[in-house]
Structure formats: structure tokens, C-alpha cells
Symmetry: D2
Subunit: 153 residues, 4 copies
């Protein structure tokens, strides 16, 4: 069972497009370093939506949210105004109250890798305390990852 | 000719979808008031892209940008986390160095009007001085608006 | 009584300094147009703090917040990276559920007027419904404005 | 000489206060995770200003900027609306084209450590290429760090 889940997790990369607007850039002519974290968070939300999970619904149904605990971001090359970017997101870990994503941001034009992030999140309840990820959420994600694995093989 | 252009301008509404992410909300549980201006600016950029104008290309080719001179925004009802919004954008004026948009933000679910904006922009050159909109840009926009008018009638 | 309050309101300008950081600028080399609304909101929060009102305390004690209903902003000249700005904020109206500020943003260096805003807010309760401003808040503001008037004359 | 510089670097912590405004929070009621990176960047700018370095002047005089290459951020506890925070910033490395800061964000009220960041930057020139930090900048920083060390001992 554990092996299955790990296998599933290995092949769960999803791609989400982002356009760079004025709001994202700074006077250096490139995307401001904190804004890549916004892009990554959008892509994680869309990853979960594709898997069948809506974050507002999760809050209402289970009283939990996902809070970032650690973000390690490497900036290799800058994104510029009006460029189209592709965010690759992979769910790389999920157990107990923890979930982790590996994310890469590419320029669409020439597929240059611009930014990479390792983002670790914790499931927290309404009081802000760490809380096991509800079983239904885990199952939905495992089903999604397993189905993706099958269709990929 | 002037009448044609005005007619064209009257029927140039374009719709652009926006998803509300965490980054857009504030601790009141709704979209932060300044962030609707970001949404409107994204939709204006997409309006121009659809008309055949890329803002980075315009900067390179003509050395001009569009700077907001006046923004009048009415907030009727709040947008909430994870909602899908639709931004309606109409080009309502264009002459000399000036261009103006009327924009409405609707909740997609129930088509409630949330926010309205009148946004006036000026064409400025690299020194920041007001500069007539290049004739090619005017023509591209007129062609786009006229074609839309024809296909709408 | 009404006259007194109006007099008091006429002389209630407060100044708050802001530094322009990278996050505030865009690739045009100037402050992004939506970010001036952030600056104005910071200055309104500080206006209220100086008058003795803490917005988080108001939420806890009275269950109300202030939501922007109308923002009319004129952009005269751009603020640039690393400049120090001064935000002038005046409380120009306060009755029922409504409160309004007039705000100007100046460059500190040469006192150039960069941006002006008329910001109208409504007091709303936890359900998002319009609600009369609590009497204690009105009184605190009137006392503050009256004292400022006296010390100014 | 190398030892001196290292000693100096060890005792160069500077504190910068930040107030949490609406713009910084998200609908979870806490500061949005990307916004702590804005706070850290403001504090780094103020660190350099105190040392005698203005980033806009450096751009003009030397044609260089500092771009973030790696940001590792740990989130221990959330900051909330209207809280006052203190950002501690230490310059921990500086050689060739590289400069690195260690930064901690504390809640002012109870001195709880909320967030920690290791931020590595590279000096880049106008073409975006890595470039040695100009000797004058290195010297200004070394002088500042050495003086701080002396006054601290």
C-alpha cells in the first residue's frame, strides 16, 4: 500500500500556465522574487482542484487549511514582463499532517528553467494547531495520483 | 470616420476570467480593495493582446507605455477566496494620447456585479512625457473594434 | 454640534511617511498604480491609531470593519524606487455608517504632489451588512479632531 | 584581515520594525507566506541604508543591483493583522559577487520567533550578468560592520 502511494506520487506532475503582468514585475525589469511564491501557490491550488479538491470546500467541510512551513526557492534566471510561464507541480510527500510539493517555473518560449521551489505544508485546524490530513482528502489525492500513474504508463 | 470609430467602441466588450487565490484576499475574508485594480489591469492587457497588441512589443517598437492617470472604482459586493470572476472590459475612448476603459467585475457563479472601474490612461514615452498614441496602434485597435462590431451585428 | 464636528473635520490632516521598496515598483521603473492604494490604506490605519483606535480591537469589541465603497484616485506624477513619500490624510466625512478620507501622496524631497485619492468607506458587521459606526468610535474621532483643531488654532 | 571581516560579520545584526496592514494578510487571518519575503527585503534595504548604501545610488554609480539567488524560509508561527513585528537582519557572508543575510522575524509583543530566512544574493550588472561587488561597497560594509563590532564590545 505504502509502495503504491509512493509510486503514484512519483509521477504526479501537473502544469499550470501563468502570464507575467505589470503587477508581478519590479523596477529591475523582472518578476519580484516574492511573486514567484504567489505563482507557485496558484499552481498548487490548481493541482488540488484538478484532483477534485477545492480549498474553500475543504475549509467548510473539514475545518482545515494548509499552511506553508518551509519554502526553499532557487532563482536561476529571471522572468520578464509579458512572458508566459509554465509551473510544474509535483506532490512529493503526504503523510500525517504534512504534504510537500516540488515546483519548477519554466519560460514557455524556450523552456528555460527559471525558478525551483520545495514547499512543505502542514494541515492546520481552525485554532491554528497541526491536524492530521482528513482521510477523505488523502484518499482523493491517492486516487488521483494512481489514475494519473496508470494513464501515464 | 469618427462616427464609425465611436460605433465600434460602443460594442467592444471583452471578458477575461480570473480565479481568486489566497494572495488576493485579506483577513476580512474577501479580496483586498487594491487587488481589483490588478485584476482590471490584467484584463486590459488581455484586451490589447486579443486586438493584436503586445505591450512589451509596443515598448520596443514605439518606445511608449500606457500609464494610468485616473482610476475611479466602485465596490458593490466582495469577491471571496476561490471564486471565479469575469472581468468585462470596454474601450470607451481613444484620442490623442488618451485611452479609457470601462470595466466591470462579476462573480461567475451568479453574475453578481462586484466592482466597476473607469480607468483613464495616457500614452507616455521613455522620458515619462505624454506622447500621441502611435498611428499603428490606433489603427490596430480601430480594425479590431470594427471587426467585432460587424461580427456582433 | 453638527457645525463643531464639521469644523473639527476640516483641520484633521495627518502625515505618514512611506519608503518605496522594490516590491512597490513595476518594470516601468515607477510605483505600480494599485500600490498607491496600499499606501493610502496604511496611512488611514495610522490616522485611526493616532486617534486612539486600533482596527483589530474595533473588530473584537464591536464586531465591525471598514470596507472601501468608492476609491477615486488621480495619478499626477510617478513615485520611484527608494524615494521617501509623505501621505497626507484628512477625515472629511463621518455619519451613519459612512466615513470618508481625502488623501494626497507627496514626494518628500521636493514636495511634488504625486497622487490624490478620495476614499469612501462603510462600516460593516460580521455578516458583511452595513452598520452604523459605533457611538464610541464616533466620539473618539470627534474628540481627536476637536483637540487637533484647538492645538492648531 | 579575513578574520577581522568575519568577526565583524558575526555581530552585525540590525532590527527594523514592520506593522502588519490589511494588504499583508490573507483570508486565513494571517500574513500571506510570500509577504514575509517583502518584509525581509525591506529590512535588507534598511540595513544597507544604515550602513551608508542607497540602492538607487548604487545602480546609478556602479550599474549593479543585487538579485536573490536562493531564499530558504521557515515559518514557525503566523503574524496577524495589526501586529508590530521586528525584523532582525545579519550580514553573514560577502565575497566575490555574493552576499548573504540571515533574517528573523519576531512578534514585538512577546518576542516570539515567527519566521526565519536565509537569503543569498548575487551582484549583477545591467545586462543581468554576475559581477564582483564594487570595492567601494565592500569597504563601506566592512567599515560599518567593524564600527558596530567595536561599539558592541
Amino acid at each position: 500500500m505504502k509502495k503504491e502511494a509512493n509510486n503514484a506520487i512519483n509521477c504526479s506532475t501537473q502544469t499550470w500556465p501563468i502570464r507575467v503582468y505589470y503587477e508581478d514585475t519590479d523596477h529591475g525589469g523582472v518578476v519580484y522574487y516574492a511573486n514567484y511564491l504567489k505563482f507557485m501557490e496558484r499552481a498548487r491550488s490548481e493541482f488540488l482542484r484538478t484532483a477534485g479538491l477545492e480549498l474553500d470546500q475543504i475549509e467548510q467541510d473539514y475545518g482545515v487549511m494548509f499552511a506553508v512551513r518551509q519554502a526553499n526557492v532557487s532563482y536561476h534566471a529571471p522572468a520578464r514582463f509579458n512572458e508566459k510561464l509554465l509551473i510544474h507541480s509535483s506532490l512529493v510527500d503526504m503523510r500525517g499532517a504534512r504534504i510537500a510539493f516540488k515546483q519548477q517555473i519554466y519560460r514557455d518560449d524556450d523552456h528555460t528553467l527559471l525558478t525551483e521551489g520545495d514547499i512543505h505544508l502542514a494541515c492546520i485546524n481552525r485554532d491554528g494547531n497541526v491536524s492530521r490530513i482528513p482521510a477523505n482528502i488523502i484518499n482523493t489525492l491517492h486516487d488521483y495520483l494512481t489514475n494519473n500513474e496508470e494513464s501515464a504508463s
